[in-house]
């Protein structure tokens, strides 16, 4: 049997679609875990990335730390925090935020740092304050990379939010972990399939965001990057 027939045989059963353990609820749980984590990661990484990109200070250091940071094993952090903090929200939120920060931070800082120096000079030349330079020139120009960072972070987080199930929470990981525990591979395949679909949906969503957020004049350029 192929992966898809395993998954299909499982998900065509009507009982998978109802109740607190049904697929719609699990998808909402997954979106809640990943949405909250991404929001917090963005609130930390976007301003920090802009600051680094704008000032050009600490860029090498921060980018390297962020890249090394990606090596933190999310599952290990989850279990460790659960033991330290008990079953609080932080136990699953922190590992997912930690996972989401590096791609956002790196892309945002690179995007802002990569703004054409002549454009910066021009902005300064027409008398913009540093804040105006950032808001009106650097961020709009860097927008394709900022959205790319958010999109990469979102895909990481939405796919990895399955691990919340490891500490007894819901989400699509529930199907993967519970299915493995009783060798119900249809359930495992079904859960994995929905994770993939969700990641694709997130990707499509950020394509739309990019279309809306990137200034008209930059779209051609943006597509190329």
């Amino acid at each position: 049997m192929s992966f898809f027939s395993f998954a299909w045989n499982w998900l065509k059963q009507p009982q998978q679609w109802h109740g607190s353990g049904g697929i719609p609820i699990r998808i909402l749980e997954q979106l809640y875990y990943s949405g909250l984590a991404l929001l917090i990661a963005a609130l930390i990484a976007v301003p920090l990335g802009i600051l680094i990109g704008h000032t050009g200070r600490g860029a090498v250091l921060v980018v390297n730390i962020a890249n090394a940071w990606r090596a933190i094993p999310t599952l290990a952090l989850l279990v460790l925090l659960t033991i330290w903090l008990g079953f609080s929200v932080l136990a699953w939120l922190v590992p997912l935020v930690v996972l989401g920060i590096p791609p956002i931070l790196v892309n945002v800082s690179e995007g802002v740092a990569g703004v054409d120096p002549e454009l910066r000079d021009a902005a300064r030349g027409v008398g913009m304050t540093p804040w105006q330079q950032v808001r009106k020139v650097e961020v709009p120009v860097a927008m394709p990379l900022i959205v790319l960072g958010l999109r990469t972070g979102a895909i990481f987080v939405v796919a990895t939010a399955t691990i919340a199930a490891y500490i007894g929470l819901g989400g699509l990981g529930r199907y993967i972990i519970d299915g493995l525990a009783v060798s119900n591979y249809g359930e495992v395949a079904g859960g994995a399939l929905f994770v993939v679909l969700l990641a694709l949906a997130v990707q499509a969503f950020f394509m739309g965001v990019r279309r809306a957020a990137v200034p008209k004049g930059l779209r051609q350029q943006g597509r190329a990057s």
Binding site: G86, F87, A165, G168, D178, L180, A181
Partner: protein, 331 residues
């Protein structure tokens, strides 16, 4: 020479040289086995006691009570094997320890053919993973009867100890005191307000929630899928995320986290008594009586304390094992 080598070439895709070496090796092995068999029959005739040991280097361990004590690859089993080794050595039995072999799938075939002579086992797990996977035996007596009936003729189990390392419904001491709990049956009025934790499969396994309902009439408020008596389960109990959980009865944190494993009078969880599994030809009456004396004195709480010492306090296995043997008068 010529026909033989041609025959070899036809008979096997292996390079000729390898085949010949194999044949010679096989012949040597057969010869030594033959000699060994002679040695063993001569040996058992001449000595019932432990005198004149190992004069014949080809004699298998059986003849003179030189035995291989094996262990699985987890601390408790290694500790039990160490206890066996020290006790046997105290009786002047020649012992070769072969610890940390692996899981049952690895060591069971070894003891079946006599490469290991003795290994500490758990009767229920031995029965359902290696001997009779469809067995539904639950009590110690049922499990032992099933093992006695179905073990291969080369193997036997000696007397089981009362010490068990099995699944349990465990609560905190505070909960046990508040609700006067000592047995799973006592949970009857409280289960509906309790969340129970365990590995994900606990939800559907016949000895999990299904059995707790059938055997004790318990329906819990909710089930929280966690891990197999591991850090998450223990954290959830401590944290109050669950009020009861499936914890193995010799998990050392039962001592340190102040937990109570509730008694299971209806054997919802099949018996897992510690019992020596032996290769029949390798054991002598001295060995049998020594191991049975250990089993007679071993208890779950003694095992729990020793597990705590070696796992959490990182004490030396030999020190812990010999201290227990002295304490029960076998050292």
């Amino acid at each position: 020479m010529f026909p033989r080598s041609r025959f070899a070439a036809i008979a096997s895709p292996l390079p000729r040289r390898n085949l010949r070496a194999g044949a010679i090796g096989g012949l040597a092995l057969l010869t030594s086995l033959g000699l060994a068999a002679c040695g063993s029959s001569g040996g058992s005739g001449s000595s019932g006691s432990s005198s004149s040991s190992s004069s014949n280097p080809l004699a298998p361990s059986a003849a003179k009570g030189s035995v291989v004590v094996g262990s699985a690859n987890f601390p408790e089993n290694e500790l039990l094997a160490e206890i066996y080794v020290l006790a046997l050595q105290a009786k002047h039995v020649k012992v070769t320890p072969k610890f940390n072999i692996g899981a049952r799938e690895v060591y069971y075939p070894q003891i079946q053919k006599g490469a290991i002579s003795i290994i500490p086992e758990y009767n229920g797990a031995l029965l359902t993973t290696s001997v009779d996977t469809s067995s539904t035996a639950a009590t110690t007596a049922q499990v032992d009867a099933a093992l006695t009936a179905k073990l291969p003729s080369t193997l036997e189990i000696l007397n089981p100890s009362s010490a068990q390392d099995k699944d349990s419904v465990t609560v905190t001491q505070a909960t046990a005191k508040k609700d006067h709990l000592t047995s799973i049956a006592d949970l009857k009025p409280f289960a509906k307000d309790m969340a129970i934790g365990g590995p994900p499969e606990f939800k559907t396994r016949t000895d999990g929630l299904v059995g707790l309902k059938k055997n004790y009439g318990l329906t819990f408020k909710s089930f929280v899928p966690l891990d197999e008596s591991g850090p998450l389960t223990l954290a959830a109990l401590k944290d109050g995320k669950v009020q009861a959980a499936d914890v193995f009865t010799t998990t050392p944190q039962i001592v340190t986290d102040k937990l109570v494993a509730l008694a299971d009078p209806k054997f919802n969880f099949a018996a897992q008594n510690v019992v020596p599994l032996v290769y029949k030809k390798a054991v002598t009456p001295t060995i049998t009586s020594t191991l049975n004396a250990i089993s007679a004195r071993m208890t779950t709480s003694a095992l729990l304390q020793m597990d705590k010492a070696v796992i959490l306090d990182h004490a030396n296995y030999s020190t812990v094992a010999s201290a227990w043997l002295k304490a029960v008068g076998l050292g």
